[in-house]
Symmetry: C2
Subunit: 310 residues, 2 copies
């Protein structure tokens, strides 16, 4: 049997990401001991029922003691408070990382608390589903997905390599970039799509002339595609909006400008302009499928799930 | 063996919808003869290679001669021209229907050409995928999906019942409503989602600070959900935009108003307002799943397609 990569891993937060990590760490034998901590006693109890770790505590400082790797998986708005709480208990030489969807804000919140001798490497695995909580996790979540690190100027290369190896064994591909570029990139590929999805579902929910039951009945004609993102964890997404404000507002401004132009083309019957846009966007999906970042099955493969034999 | 419902069905247009109809009509033995017509000789040849029908012609008038049921499945902007071409050849007592996503415009285009004694019943099966063409169709496309009729004031109830029976045997559930209500409902559940998806993919394609390859690499974090709708047939969607203009502009105005308000909440850090919206939208997805209009598997079940054994 291969030696585990780590002696002890501490998972602070055991939602979709934390519990998926717990499962893949176990499956791949990446640590001798999985210490789990989360604020809610009820969630902790559920994690224990699911057998996700080796020890369970609502005290994050107790979980991180002696840990070689600490992964903070909480809504980004709570990063600072968690860092403050665990800082005194962190082992010298330990790696501290997070999984937050915004990086500049997480660095600003956590870095001031990190003690000398602890390697703080901000990270973001681009993986998730619309489900949340410890029951929603699964070991394959990170497979063929990217994990982005935004190392600080003084990050130790050996610690970075060790953390990279950890995520590679979880199934991820590794990228590094600076925090500002991460935040801008994620604003367009993740934050704007979620905000737009929440918004359109809200708009549909508010109509007087079309009933809610009609929206639900007829949703397969397009609307339902948005409802998946709009079913994502509200706390997580509130925090993302509050903690990547500038980049999000910039992307929203561009989106609205483009939409105004499209609206004008519809009003004035500019068929060629519509056709040009609708053709150009097709190519992007093809590239995403070629890059292995989505499946080619029609309707996201729902067909295969609904009619497994056909 | 049960008697076929129809002697002869004529399918005008053999794209995703037409070719799915051909397949389910064959599987369910709904007609003795399937006559296929489409404008493009190349598409017609492909339909013949696929063995979708019993006869093939580029002349729609030849296809509809003697047909009991004629289904026009072309971009809505071509409805008028097709109706004019086939009108003289329609059999007395025949049912003429369509599958277009806009109904007021199709009625305005087709009704004036319909001869005395032919039952014109506008229809719209709410079914489709992002794929197009005769290869993209499949017999299960209409299963558990709604087919909406927007009958005219003088529609013969027997003809309506016969057409309803046809679609039920294709797997659909039947609804009827007036054309104006249909167009407004579809504007929110289908047309606006497609337009928003095309728009956000266009916005991402135009950025200077985030490269196209980054958008593609990191698309699994949300963006890819939009690319499916934005890969839909450009001609079909150009026509929808041009032919349901008023209802679409109304829904776009509401959407933009809501987005401006959401943008303001982000700018001013109104976390409670964001949390309230993000919570409310979650309930709608649950209702859609309960109504059988989407699957509950995370990520639209992509997981099951990517990792069939897990």
């Amino acid at each position: 049997m291969v030696e585990p990569l780590l002696d002890r891993i501490a998972l602070i937060g055991i939602g979709l990401i934390g519990s998926s990590l717990a499962r893949v760490v176990r499956r791949e034998n990446l640590a001798r001991h999985i210490a789990i901590s989360t604020r809610s006693a009820k969630t902790l109890e559920r994690a224990e029922e699911l057998g996700l770790g080796n020890s369970y505590t609502t005290d994050p400082a107790a979980a991180v003691a002696d840990a070689d790797l600490v992964v903070v998986s909480v809504p980004v708005g709570s990063s600072g408070a968690v860092a403050e709480e665990i800082a005194p208990a962190l082992k010298r030489g330990a790696i501290l990382t997070d999984v937050g969807s915004t990086k500049s804000s997480v660095i600003a919140q956590m870095a001031p608390h990190v003690p000398e001798g602890v390697h703080f490497i901000p990270g973001h695995p681009l993986a998730g589903t619309e489900k949340s909580g410890p029951d929603a996790g699964f070991a394959e979540l990170f497979e063929n997905r990217w994990c982005i690190f935004t190392p600080l100027a003084d990050t130790d290369p050996q610690a970075l390599e060790k953390l990279s190896e950890f995520w590679r064994r979880c199934g991820s591909n590794i990228d590094t970039m600076d925090a500002e570029h991460h935040d801008r990139t994620l604003a367009i590929v993740s934050h704007l799509p979620h905000i737009i999805a929440y918004n359109i579902v809200g708009t549909a929910d508010d109509l007087e002339t079309v009933t809610k039951s009609e929206v639900i009945k007829y949703s397969a004609s397009g609307f339902r595609d948005f409802t998946r993102l709009a079913a994502s964890d509200p706390t997580m997404w509130r925090d993302v909006c509050l903690h990547n404000r500038e980049a999000i507002l910039e992307m929203l401004a561009r989106f609205s400008e483009d939409l105004a132009s499209l609206q004008r083309a519809i009003r004035w019957g500019e068929g060629d302009k519509l056709f040009e846009l609708f053709t150009r966007t097709r190519a992007i999906r093809r590239s995403i499928i070629e890059a292995g970042q989505d499946i080619d099955a029609p309707d996201f493969g729902r067909q295969a799930v609904e009619h497994p034999k056909s």
